[in-house]
């Protein structure tokens, strides 16, 4: 835990606003960084970061100061990001999804054509939100399975199982679109 001592966490659970502000300032970047990995939209990530801390603040009495605040925040943030993905699913078109996903992505691979990228994104978007988040974190971001399991509130085997199902679905979906990885 960097900079935030257990005493501060204890004060936060008792409703001390200064302790909460210190925690917020310490962790806002980390929480934002986690959420943007999942939602790929800076505006949404900012809103969800605030919503995450709002939920944290309301649930402060239930937090055990001996546990990791970062892990707790990540779990709440992941749930909110999942809710967001589930909500936006029906009205988002592929074009919207592409625009949102590639406004400032890492350097695009020139060897991959725009049509293949579009097909990959479409296949990813077809996945149920829980599988999509797991795939994004495990396969694209290459986060450790234990960290993903903690954030999703499931076991490491649960993560492996989701990755397995997602890979199967993705492969089927891509093959239907004429892409064979």
């Amino acid at each position: 835990m960097t900079g935030v001592v257990e005493v501060e966490l204890d004060q936060f659970t008792r409703g001390d606003m200064q302790a909460f502000e210190a925690l917020f300032r310490e962790y806002q970047g980390e929480v934002y960084g986690w959420i943007i990995r999942i939602v790929h939209d800076s505006g949404v990530a900012e809103d969800l970061t605030i919503e995450t801390f709002w939920r944290i603040y309301r649930a402060r009495a239930r937090f055990d100061p001996r546990r990791s605040f970062g892990a707790w925040a990540r779990r709440i943030a992941t749930n909110l990001a999942l809710e967001h993905l589930n909500r936006r699913r029906p009205e988002k078109s592929l074009d919207d999804s592409l625009r949102m996903r590639f406004p400032a992505t890492r350097t695009p691979d020139p060897a991959i054509g725009a049509d293949v990228r579009a097909k990959v994104v479409a296949a990813l978007d077809e996945l149920p939100a829980k599988l999509r988040v797991t795939t994004t974190l495990a396969l694209i971001e290459e986060r450790p399975y234990a960290e993903i399991a903690d954030a999703l509130g499931i076991s490491t085997n649960g993560v492996k199982s989701r990755v397995f199902r997602a890979v199967r679905l993705l492969r089927k979906s891509l093959e239907k679109r004429g892409v064979c990885p």
Partner: protein
């Protein structure tokens, strides 16, 4: 992961990479403080009890619904 899975992973990373910029550009505390100051909608427990009682009455005595609608 077998070779085919590795190939799929590589394709995903090349075709759908995550956002390049993951740094938070501004301090969100002022917005957080506004959110904390916003008064939350509080419904007194008495109102909840009254609503529950009304619903229970309507469920137990559905014949009173027309009379209630008439009074409203």
């Amino acid at each position: 992961m077998n070779d085919r899975d590795e190939a799929l992973r590589a394709l995903l990373q090349r075709a759908a990479p995550g956002p390049a910029d993951r740094e938070l550009k501004r301090d969100l505390w002022p917005e957080m403080r506004r959110q904390l100051k916003r008064p939350s909608v509080h419904i007194p427990w008495g109102d909840w009890a009254l609503a529950a009682t009304l619903l229970l009455c309507l469920f137990l005595f559905p014949t009173t619904i027309p009379a209630l609608l008439y009074l409203l």
